[in-house]
Symmetry: D2
Subunit: 143 residues, 4 copies
């Protein structure tokens, strides 16, 4: 994809104050596919055992799914989100990928995966997700 | 429940750096029921339209479900998390409640609700969740 | 509710050949609430251990949720269905209940429970479900 | 895979009276992968609009996921089942595929897809699923 498009989706992500706080970096968002990266910060992102908090696992997966959908149909809101936590989310960096399975007029079905990057270039699948998104219909502009 | 028990679960919550960052306050955690409160911070918690980010909706619901489970079976890890986003999560405070539906030896089934507190004492149900948790078996102590 | 309304929803249920095969009996369908009953038939409805098959657990819960939604918004189609299997579904009769949590224009959120009726009037909650349904918009009549 | 193994899993499937009623045919069950086929019977398998009933969509997906898991860890029971209904399930034959994502000691995570086979060799993805299964621990034999 063009770097222009990535910059547009990075700006969309940065319009969310939580995404800025979490330093989400958009790597790809085109043709129903997306990739999002987040650096680990131990002092603010952990659950009680020191792994990445489930809320951040969900935030990464939900955002990656939303970007994949937005690349096809514009702005969306999540109606349903499901995730499976396969392994403790432990790493210095996390990468989430999103994929559109089907984009209809009223619903967009997506799936996503979260990978943890550890030492020695070790990459591990730690969670998967499935989301249903509803395209946001903008009100007609008034003049 | 006794204030001692609430203090214990607040300490458990505070052992998670993300929970401290989000200022989760445990109001109840006993007999398979829990209540958790979080104040809204616009500058760090929003999604792109200015509502509470789905990651924080998930974090509140997952934590409330985990506390409800922990009040019966001790420490747990989430294996599966599902949530329905019923309405935009907008308010000055959010309250999550968790309930144990069934606590088995290998799996604990829970449900949760998230309420947004707006102006004029308006309270609105904005999301529901269902989680499957696995009790954490501590390794036997060695001497 | 009036017995007329129950008869209407029984007719809707009977328009599904699978519902007739499974002998679904509509007990209630009004104001976003529903109740559905099914008798157990060991020779056609079992999974490998002899309990009610997960497909029938899903069919009962999905139909109960659909009836609850239909009582408010007319015909619907399921977009997403989740269920938790709490206990082996064993009994001579099964009762499913459905409830509308929120009925919007494009999506209806529902929940449901499945109860197994055993000997000695024993009633047990064996599964819970959550479904997202989309109202079916009939095409405009042409003249 | 060997035809012996397929015959064993077909026998396991046939031990479920519902699977025999629905004429489930096991095509593959090995190494965490499975394939299952079912012929459409309009007079017993339809929902109210004449498509395959959601209960049978669930039954096929749940069984395919269960066979995929069973090929790695032996008998299992479903604890959680989620499906997305992408399109009306219409066809003369349905094929479900199951895949193990992760097989742990206490939980097996799987995914599945359901394909509808229509006229002119048309094949369409109509539903996807995700299941969590618990390995069944057989009680020790007594003599």
């Amino acid at each position: 994809m063009s770097s222009t498009a990535v910059a547009d989706f990075q700006a969309l992500s940065d319009s969310a104050t939580f995404n800025r706080w979490a330093e989400f970096q958009v790597r790809e968002a085109a043709d129903g596919e997306s990739e999002l990266v987040m650096p680990w910060r131990a002092g603010e992102m952990g659950q009680y055992a020191g792994f990445l908090h489930a809320g951040l696992v969900a935030a990464l997966l939900d955002t990656a799914c939303g970007l994949a959908a937005a690349s096809l149909v514009g702005r969306v809101l999540a109606a349903q989100f499901s995730m499976n936590c396969l392994a403790p989310a432990r790493g210095h960096t996390f990468t989430a990928r999103g994929h559109v399975v089907k984009a209809g007029r009223t619903l967009v079905f997506t799936t996503g995966e979260l990978f943890a990057h550890g030492d020695d270039s070790n990459v591990k699948l730690v969670a998967t997700a499935s989301t249903l998104l509803v395209p946001v219909v903008d009100p007609p502009a008034t003049s």
